[in-house]
Amino acid sequence: MMMVKDYLDGLKNGRIPGSRCKRCGNVMFPLKPVCSDCGSFDLNELQSKGKGVVRSCTVIYAAPVRLKDSAPYVVGLIKLEEGASIMGRIIGTDPDHPDDIKAGTKVKFEPLKQGDEIVVAFRPQQ
């Protein structure tokens, strides 16, 4: 049975854990314990290669309390090569130029250390 711990442990080791349905082949990122398409409990773990493109992104100016010193920063939805999407911070881009990152921009996974936790993050590729 897949648990949240499997996701968090994977992330700590610099991977993005996902799952693939053994019955219908549906790919899910981050990992889900039950197939979102056919409802099967029978899944395999799947690691993303960490490559994808931006679907949509935003600049956060008004940040949560714990991140107020980091603002402004960029967050986006990334469509992974494997076929599902994941939310992540987008690093290595200037938040003052939000239109630099367009839908379709190629990005690569780069785990970001934020205090004690590892956060899903991506860096635009040239």
């Binding site: 935003t58 956060i60 309390v65 967050v75 986006g76 939310m87 839908a103 934020q114």
Partner: protein, 408 residues
Amino acid sequence: MKKVDLVGVGMTVFGKHPDKTGRDLLLEAVRETVSHVDMGIDIKKDVKALFIGYFTPELYEHQGHIGALAAEWLGLSGIPAFRTESACASSSAAFATGYWAVASGMYDLVMVGGVEKMTGLNTAGVTDALSIAADNIYELPTGITFPGLFALMAQEYFEKYHVTWDDLQAIPIKNHHNGALNPRAQFRSEILDIAEKTGNKIGVKFKDEMTFLKSPSNPAVTYPIRLFDCCPISDGAAVAVLASGDISKNFTDKPLHVEGIGLGTDTITLSGRKDLTSSKAIVNAARAAYQMAGVKPEEIDTAEVHDCFTINEAIITEDLGFFGRGEGLKAAKEGRTALSGDKPVNTDGGLKCKGHPVGATGIGMIHEIWLQLRGEAGERQVKGNPEIGLTCNVGGSNASAVVLIFKR
């Protein structure tokens, strides 16, 4: 199943109530409700169960167990009572629970309500409290916020339909116009009046709404969303009384019939959705409500929809089938959703101007439909004796939704 009728609704003014707690606000809304039941009601005798929506009382008031608390505060201790929670749709969840309780025949009359006392926390504290309506493991660690989630939807909408932030502004301008006519609204001013007031303070003359909305006086919150795209932080409560069709005539000869009710969910993660410009929660809820009521989208005379951020009014009016895909903004720009339009939406000013005390919002919407269908909306009354009204209240980033259809 029993027929279910709405026999009374009441609400506080939405806004800042520094001297009142959640329970004070709830009592105020109950007293309003009682005064609106045409033939009177003795709540001690008549109310058989109580359901109250409140999203995060733990965070705002360090208070749980709202059902028993509310029952005691209203002098109703002894009856069944509990809290319902579905983020910003918490009071519509209370309404649905009350509907099922009466429709099943288990109780002949119930009180449903909602409350949120938010302004005790500062903006950062409220942002944190609201954020727990999103996925705290898969998405919040990225630093996303609620305005951020809706910014991601807006960006995908703009990209898909080749529109810009400028096109969105017809919505807040319209909602401020309506809110200016609503004595219960938090903001009762046209955007032009706010622009003039702000301009006088800083020595600038704004020539029209857009000049003001594009100025630093309307700061960015999460690109491309600015302050006037966001609903405010509010305190407030709203309450309704539901009675079985067998006994509603004892309370009023002008009830609203609950003709359709539909609920649904979408993924709580945005990453789980293939399309950010639509919500499965709303589409499913609307389909169920229309089917139950035997009503088509074009037959709805007026609607209240969840414009927590301006983009959501466009998304919801499309998901409800009022307009085609990508046509929600165009409809707003053409004035079709204005008070004088063919499909008036958010005649009370919407969440943007009326305010959004999260747990009270759904029944606050029903309050407006009650006034409109009974011809009691005063200066903002929709013309042509509207007969059928709809509310669409959503939780979080449209991850849960309740659609209700009322007929007079």
